[in-house]
């Protein structure tokens, strides 16, 4: 024990004896002094409760000596004149010791109960943490420290599997889960070790198993999606790239063939096919590139301040307005956003092209911009078929084509790319089915608030 640890019980014990002695001194006028000796139990009891049996016995002996010295004739000596006083003194001492023993036992029980409570609380906390999916490895230092505090050791840590250092093995049944590594001079609470460690080991085993299952499930899911993506890319390359290639080859060869007789009008038709199909190939290749960049997480945005109307202007320049016109409605105050303008343009172009594809013949695509406090929302609406509620999220998945989408122009990548680029730039995309019909795709980006002196 440390010096400081002894100071408190010593002071307390002395104080207890002094206090009770003083009390008897004050009371001795009215009551027979011999019966007042039992008051020393009041000194023994708290000492026994707070500091244990040894201190309590010491206090009992000191009390009897003080009683004899101060109150029993002849006073101020340790001698006793009457034999009956010896008997009383002996009874008091025995009582004090018995009481101290009882109190100390109660104290041990309380400490033990507290210890168990601490162990159970820790196990409960651990099981919640592990079952709620917190990472076991991340939690290990905390679990190790908490375990140390439960078994009365500082600097304990847990190593999973077979630890190279010496320690206590954590076993769940026959399975070695890990090792509790302790400092060399650790003074263990042995009963707590016996009680707590098997429970801890079982819990860790459950946690490890759960993590392993989760990892396997994730790996399987990853494989499945990457397989689906590969198949879809193969399909896209095989069908969607070859179709324009076929049209281009046929049109180009017919223009140069000496065995064919083409009218001027036919030549123009073939040239138009060449123009349209090369553009289409270009779009497909861009989309495949964008998509693989997003898949590989290689699309790092280079953010800059840009006005929303400028973004829309750039996107409109890259979209064919020929078959389906696009009209734009801007607010009075044009908000600024801080995004990679090339990437957001790609997102917008894909949303616009998608809206054009589904717009009924003769109807325009309508773009509306609304600025809130924190966000600017671009809504791209057409009068085409509404999207079923359960498909509103689905449309942004790569290679998903909804029923009725027999269009051959898409790779099924456009909206997935739009979502990828929007999210990479801190934005969101979603689809809406407005009550008055049609389909709306919305892109939202945080408004960049420019400090007054930076603004023009």
């Amino acid at each position: 024990m440390q010096r400081a640890d002894r100071l408190a019980p010593l002071t307390g014990s002395v104080a207890a004896v002094v206090l009770v002695t003083a009390a008897i001194f004050l009371l001795r006028g009215g009551v027979p002094v011999l019966s007042l000796g039992s008051l020393y139990v009041l000194a023994v009891l708290p000492v026994a409760i707070f500091w244990g049996r040894i201190w309590a016995v010491l206090v009992a002996v000191a009390s009897m000596l003080a009683f004899n010295f101060f109150f029993l004739a002849p006073v101020y000596t340790f001698r006793l004149s009457e034999r009956s006083n010896w008997l009383a003194l002996g009874v008091y001492l025995a009582t004090a010791i018995a009481v101290s023993e009882l109190a100390a036992r109660a104290r041990r029980r309380a400490a033990e109960a507290e210890q168990r409570e601490q162990e159970e609380a820790l196990l409960g906390e651990l099981s919640i943490a592990l079952l709620q999916g917190e990472s076991l490895v991340d939690e290990l230092p905390r679990i190790g420290a908490a375990t140390g505090s439960v078994i009365g050791v500082e600097g304990a840590r847990i190593e999973l599997g077979k630890a190279p250092t010496q320690g206590i093995e954590l076993r769940a049944g026959a399975r070695l889960v890990g090792t509790l590594v302790l400092p060399d001079d650790a003074d263990l609470n042995r009963p707590a070790v016996r009680r707590f460690l098997p429970a801890l080991a079982s819990l860790l085993a459950v946690g490890l198993d759960r993590e392993e299952l989760e990892r396997q499930a994730r790996a399987a899911e990853g494989l499945r999606t990457s397989d689906a993506v590969k198949t879809a890319i193969l399909r896209a390359v095989s069908h969607d790239l070859r179709s324009p290639l076929t049209a281009i080859r046929v049109a180009a060869e017919s223009l140069t063939s000496s065995s064919l007789r083409l009218s001027d009008e036919d030549r123009m038709r073939q040239l138009e096919t060449l123009r349209l199909e090369t553009r289409r190939l270009d779009r497909l290749v861009s989309n495949l590139l964008d998509f693989s960049r997003l898949e590989a997480e290689a699309a790092r945005p280079h953010a800059e301040l840009v006005a929303v109307d400028e973004l829309i202007g750039q996107a409109l320049a890259s979209v064919d307005a020929d078959p389906v016109p696009i009209d734009v409605e801007l607010p009075v105050e044009i908000p600024l956003v801080e995004v990679d303008s090339v990437q957001v343009e790609r997102a917008l172009v894909n949303v616009l092209a998608n809206a054009q594809r589904f717009a009924p013949v003769g109807t325009p695509v309508h773009v509306a911009v609304s600025a809130g406090d924190t966000e600017v929302v671009l809504r791209v609406a057409n009068a085409g078929p509404a999207i079923e509620p359960h498909e509103l999220d689905l449309v942004f998945e790569p290679f998903v084509r909804l029923a009725g989408d027999d269009d051959r122009d898409g790779t099924g990548l456009g909206l997935a790319i739009a979502r990828g680029f929007a999210e990479a730039n801190g934005g969101r995309v979603w689809a809406e089915s407005p009550p008055d019909g049609g389909a709306t795709f919305a892109l939202a980006f945080p408004i960049a608030h420019v400090p007054a002196r930076a603004a023009r």
Binding site: S238, S243, T246, V250, A251, E253, S257, E277
Partner: protein
């Protein structure tokens, strides 16, 4: 061939347009259909003399269209297939298609295949066929190569006769087996490989580099006149 009516079926508007223009430039009269339903309606309304059919259509597969056309239309069917659609291609040939070209095809190849298919359809069943240096007398069951008689077993002769009657046309394993050995043999393709190799030793100048009896990998065989290929 001028004025020969060809029905082109493809779901790709640009391919349809390019083919229509090209075929018209080659002197054909062209009708187009973007899907199976339109194709069958157009074919029924005005039976074409040849059909160019894409295997991937939005409403039904090209194989089904081919099978249905074959129930009442004699005109040759040329299938447009793509890499990755080999099984559909063989199925279409089994269902009665005459030949195929693989996208992206050149117009010379397409026009040559189309001409060959039309020529076969027009050719009457002659008793003596001449293919390159081969002379096949169907009545007398005599085969000569460059004037020398080639002796063939009955199955070898049946195989050569079927190939020669369909000169230039791709015949699938299944259809050859069915025709030469009978319907119960149509999956026994090892028979076919053995007989083809025997037949090549008898009719080819160099059996390791066949010039008459050509293999179409994964699909079937084709007997051609060496001067044409």
């Amino acid at each position: 061939m001028s004025g020969t009516r060809v029905l082109v079926v493809d779901d790709e508007p640009q391919i349809l347009r390019a083919l229509e223009t090209t075929l018209r430039g080659a002197g054909y009269e062209v009708e187009t259909a973007p899907d199976a339903a339109t194709a069958l309606t157009r074919a029924a309304a005005k039976p074409p003399e040849a059909v160019i059919l894409d295997l991937v259509l939005p409403d039904r597969s090209g194989v089904e269209v081919c099978r249905e056309l074959r129930t009442w239309l004699q005109a040759p069917v040329l299938v447009l297939s793509a890499v990755g659609e080999e099984r559909d291609k063989v199925e279409a040939l089994d269902a009665g298609a005459d030949d195929y070209v693989t996208k992206p095809f050149g117009i010379d190849e397409l026009l040559a295949r189309l001409r060959a298919a039309l020529r076969r359809a027009a050719a009457p069943g002659e008793p003596v066929l001449e293919i390159g240096e081969l002379t096949i007398d169907l009545d007398k069951r005599v085969v000569q190569r460059d004037g020398d008689v080639v002796s063939l077993t009955p199955h070898e002769f049946a195989l050569l006769r079927y190939l020669a009657q369909n000169e230039g046309r791709l015949l699938t394993h299944r259809s050859i087996l069915r025709q030469v050995w009978g319907p119960s043999y149509q999956s026994e393709s090892h028979y076919l490989h053995v007989y083809v190799s025997q037949l090549r030793r008898k009719i080819e100048p160099d059996p390791t580099r066949p010039r008459y009896l050509l293999t179409e990998a994964g699909a079937g065989y084709r007997l051609v006149s060496p001067s044409l290929s």
